[in-house]
């Protein structure tokens, strides 16, 4: 029986999400006034549209739109052989050389940090950036690795029974961030990765 989730609280509506991204873009610009040396790389799935939106904001604010890449970290996951059915591959696309540039890695939710670890390993196989930074829309805590966000749209304390779902116009038809809580306790003691695909889809990609 896959656990089911119900909405507990709305964390951001469309307007709030838009203002949060604008603020994050300004923070990035503040640290990197010359945005030309910067590449934004979104972690699939929802990191990619977020990276595109940030790039558009950066153009509005600074006049230059940095290139945007997409990273599918599946082949670098530390749980690939225990994850359940094979995850669907969407492919990685890094449109430009990252040698000597600043890469801002973009994801929707920062949780255990394992996705970011995989993304760092994959990025480094593409070259030697001068610096890699991390931008996330929501940091929900529970890190299992020494990883932190350089830019966080929102930081909040959650329990392990909760999950944060980011819905984006591009993938989900609406802009919204919600906090979900688990309704029924799981039958077996299952790590987040042991959950079947449907439940993961329902809960967004948050518990990877």
């Amino acid at each position: 029986m896959p656990p089911t989730y119900r909405e507990r609280q709305e964390l951001m509506d469309a307007d709030r999400l838009s203002r949060t991204l604008a603020r994050m873009a300004h923070e990035i610009l503040e640290r990197h006034p010359d945005i030309r040396g910067t590449v934004l790389v979104g972690v699939r799935t929802r990191g990619v549209p977020l990276a595109r939106r940030l790039a558009a904001r950066l153009r509005e604010a600074g006049g230059v739109e940095p290139p945007v890449g997409a990273l599918d970290i599946t082949l670098y996951r530390d749980d690939l052989t225990t994850v359940g059915p094979q995850p669907v591959l969407k492919g990685t696309d890094i449109p430009t050389s990252i040698d000597g540039r600043t890469v801002v890695l973009v994801d929707d939710v920062l949780f255990t940090g394992r996705t970011v670890r995989a993304a760092l390993d994959e990025l480094i196989d593409f070259g030697r950036p001068s610096r890699i930074e991390l931008a996330v829309l929501v940091d929900r805590g529970h890190r299992e690795l020494p990883i932190h966000a350089d830019y966080a749209g929102k930081t909040l304390t959650t329990t392990r029974d909760e999950t944060v779902q980011v819905l984006l116009e591009e993938d989900d038809g609406q802009d919204r961030v919600v906090l979900l809580e688990r309704v029924a306790p799981p039958v077996r003691r299952a790590g987040p990765r042991a959950r079947p695909k449907e439940a993961r889809a329902a809960a967004g990609r948050r518990r990877r």
């Binding site: 059915p85 094979q86 492919g91 990685t92 994959e122 196989d125």
Partner: protein, 310 residues
């Protein structure tokens, strides 16, 4: 969306659903990019061991499995039976059981007997991949052909494909007929009457005239004349075969302007295919080879990458 390849083995195309084929092709498409990276290696299958067990000669298929295994970081070893204890009389099952005692996760098998991989699948723990069994199936070849067609034409559905040559001895033809018809393409087969195996007309229409087969074709798949398997006189001379069934430039012009020419290799130039066709603008023979690596990576990933395949 599900990953969509629910099997433990890849034994043939015949038992697959169109969605399973789709899953392999989509995965191969996503994996192709890895081959263009500065560092052509991803850690996906670290700690997995694959044995390539080849009872028949092979260049392309074996090299392409080996590269796919290395790119995905699996440990692999290749056994060519011409230099192994098979020559001392060990049976297939004994060889496989001894290899299994070393705990591999997958065995890639090429064998001259149809059904050999199915036999291993019944007796072994490992995932089994059929890399060609007798005149039965060669599923990864059909998948790489399909990937090549899909890339160049954008679809498989509705394509008209002619498969020409030694149908009798061809596992490639059988796998391709199953795959293409499952995916909605229409297939025409062409060979001399002596090289048409009984019953194949149940799978696709057969003609003995190559001009008829290639007329209006979106793609022409040429098959190698497998002289090493021929025991009787199937045709008078190679020259005669070329004159009646060889793919020449003139015959290519009967097909659609944007026709694609495929050949699984190794080619007999001047026999089933004229050199100017093999090297001509329609030829996608080398794309097939590149796609072969991507397709084999996809198969390795789908069979070894998850846990819940049954």
């Amino acid at each position: 969306m599900t990953a969509g390849y629910p099997h433990r083995h890849l034994l043939g195309i015949e038992p697959l659903e169109p969605s399973h084929i789709q899953a392999v092709l989509d995965t191969a498409e996503a994996l192709r990019e890895v081959l263009d990276r500065p560092i052509k290696k991803v850690p996906a299958l670290r700690g997995k061991t694959v044995v390539n067990l080849f009872y028949e000669p092979s260049t392309r298929t074996r090299a392409s499995f080996e590269i796919a295994e290395k790119v995905l970081s699996a440990d692999s070893l290749s056994i060519a039976t011409s230099t192994s204890s098979v020559l001392k009389g060990e049976t297939l099952l004994d060889t496989a059981r001894n290899l299994e005692a070393m705990n591999p996760d997958m065995i890639v098998l090429r064998h001259s007997a149809s059904g050999a991989p199915h036999f291993l699948a019944r007796h072994c723990r490992s995932a089994i991949v059929n890399a060609g069994d007798g005149a039965h199936e060669h599923p990864t070849q059909a998948l790489l052909d399909a990937l090549t067609l899909r890339q160049k034409k954008g679809r498989l559905d509705g394509l008209r494909v002619a498969i020409v040559g030694d149908l009798m001895h061809s596992r490639v033809a059988r796998s391709n007929v199953w795959l293409l018809t499952k995916m909605g393409a229409s297939v025409v087969l062409c060979a001399p009457p002596t090289l048409v195996p009984p019953g194949i007309e149940a799978l696709a229409p057969v003609t003995y005239r190559i001009d008829e087969a290639v007329e209006g074709a979106d793609a022409i798949m040429m098959l190698r004349l497998q002289q090493e398997r021929m025991t009787g006189g199937y045709f008078p001379t190679l020259r005669e075969y070329h004159a009646r069934f060889g793919l020449t430039e003139e015959r290519v012009r009967r097909a659609r302007k944007d026709v694609l020419i495929l050949h699984p290799g190794p080619m007999n130039r001047g026999v089933e295919i004229a050199s100017e066709v093999a090297d001509g603008p329609w030829s996608v023979i080398l794309d097939q080879v590149t796609n072969g690596v991507a397709v084999r990576m996809a198969v390795l990933y789908l069979l070894l990458g998850g846990t819940e395949a049954d």
